[in-house]
């Protein structure tokens, strides 16, 4: 079955450098620095990335950071909690906009 996203396309990510090598190099340099061990461990950063991958619903990032989390020593329970954090923030972001709804209703209603 044909799909819009193909797992093997992740391997072509570096092709983005063909359009503008300078910007690609800057991005990769920044990306590498972001994920290096610093105040947060590489393992913690991979868990954050996994949560964000689910929030932005990027299939490539989900594939890459599910594997990365395992390879940094995380377990399914920790990874599931990271996804729930993403879910809670996404859900909460919708719900908190209910305040806007209530403001509008309040203004319009008698």
């Amino acid at each position: 079955m044909d799909t819009y996203y193909h797992p093997h396309d992740l391997g072509k990510f570096a092709d983005m450098g063909k359009g503008n090598k300078n910007l690609w190099d800057k991005f990769m340099s920044y990306y590498t620095a972001v994920f290096a061990e610093a105040a947060l461990t590489e393992r913690e950063k991979a868990l954050i990335a996994l949560g964000v991958a689910h929030a932005v619903q990027c299939p490539y990032c989900i594939d890459a950071y599910s594997q990365a989390c395992l390879e940094k020593g995380s377990n399914t329970e920790e990874m599931t909690e990271a996804v729930h954090v993403a879910c809670a923030i996404r859900g909460g972001a919708s719900l908190v906009h209910g305040v806007q709804m209530r403001n509008v209703v309040e203004k319009l209603s008698m």
Binding site: T41, E42, R43, Q67, L70, E71, K72, G73, N75, T76
Partner: protein, 345 residues
């Protein structure tokens, strides 16, 4: 407990089948070509510092990743006369370390004799232990025996949680392993200043690479101390080799090509330069000589003119022998590298 490949008459019980599958890998270039590119071919030994004896395939567990296809039904066991040849050969050398493995090596009737003889020769002895064997009724005095002979313990514990450990090693293995670790701690293993070394081995519970050794060790120490009061010295992270039962898992789960690609993409020339076969001699249960325990399980004995049996042991010929390599060797050269002593780089 799952039966061994041999008990199931699996085609992968045959080392020829495994080698055929490995040679036909599509997702990576042949290992020898990678080594040539890295300027490491042909690969030669640098001098034997570890004399590894695999005393047989008998084990009280059948772990899903086992590269030996060990289990309770296996009959291959090193006999006393072969063990005597090992000690005789060892005595002619200054090789400092004797590394005893299996199966569960402790179940071999000659295990304790080998430990005593090696110690009498002044050699450092390592026991590669699956932990649960310490709870087998006939082995209750084993912790005291090992402590008395100052044997370094290298014990398998793939994760600090029950679910992951049991998924790989069998139902209930985690709880028994923790109990065994507590028994080892009781006789002084893993305690500061005791001189009794207890190292643990992490290996991935699935088709992925191991984490950084240092980071994982810190996590293991924190979790095992907090939850179970267990202490140990170091954690070794070991990559699963694409052979035997782990190979079966890779094929059946559709992960084989992806895993090989992962290993090959992570090829690290520095790790390749430090692979354990360069300083190890591996002796099989029947006395055949190999470059490593993995080659042993693939029936790839030493070659290129080196003596092939312990009865013909000749240190001068074996120290710098040319090493036999194949696509399975990608398992030792990926990332931070992998060896019986963990990461190599």
């Amino acid at each position: 407990m799952a039966p061994t490949l041999q008990a199931r008459n699996s085609p992968l019980d045959s080392s020829d089948e495994q080698l055929k599958l490995l040679a036909a890998t599509k997702s990576c270039s042949p290992f020898h070509a990678k080594m040539e590119q890295a300027g490491l071919a042909p690969l030669h030994g640098t001098g034997i510092s570890v004399f590894q004896i695999n005393v047989g395939k008998l084990c009280n567990q059948t772990c899903r990743h086992c590269h030996v296809d060990a289990g309770p039904d296996r009959k291959e066991q090193m006999a006393r006369d072969t063990a005597e040849l090992c000690i005789k050969a060892l005595a002619t050398t200054g090789i400092p370390t004797v590394d005893i493995t299996g199966g569960a090596p402790e179940l071999n009737p000659n295990f304790r004799w080998l430990v005593e003889q090696s110690r009498a020769l002044g050699r450092h002895v390592i026991d590669r232990c699956n932990l649960t064997v310490l709870l087998v009724p006939s082995q209750e005095d084993l912790p005291e025996f090992l402590a008395r002979h100052q044997v370094e313990m290298i014990a398998s514990l793939p994760y600090f949680r029950p679910a992951q450990t049991d998924a790989q090693r069998g139902e209930g293995v985690f709880d028994k392993s923790v109990h065994a670790l507590q028994e080892l701690n009781k006789v002084g293993y893993g305690a500061d200043g005791s001189g009794l070394i207890l190292n643990l081995v992490y290996n991935p519970v699935g088709a992925f690479l191991p984490p950084t050794q240092e980071a994982m060790e810190a996590q293991f120490k924190r979790e095992l101390a907090t939850r179970y009061g267990v202490t140990f010295n170091h954690l070794y992270t070991i990559t699963n080799m694409p052979i035997s039962r782990f190979l079966e898992f890779l094929v059946e789960s559709g992960n084989y090509e992806g895993y090989m690609q992962r290993l090959a993409n992570a090829f690290n020339p520095a790790a390749a330069a430090g692979v354990m076969c360069r300083y190890t001699l591996s002796v099989g249960w029947d006395g055949t000589l190999y470059d490593c325990d993995f080659n042993q399980m693939l029936d790839l004995p030493v070659d290129f003119g080196a003596p092939r049996h312990i009865r013909d042991f000749d240190a001068a010929q074996l120290h710098t022998r040319r090493i036999v390599i194949g696509n399975h060797c990608y398992g030792c050269t990926a990332g931070a590298g992998s060896s019986c002593g963990g990461a190599t780089y």
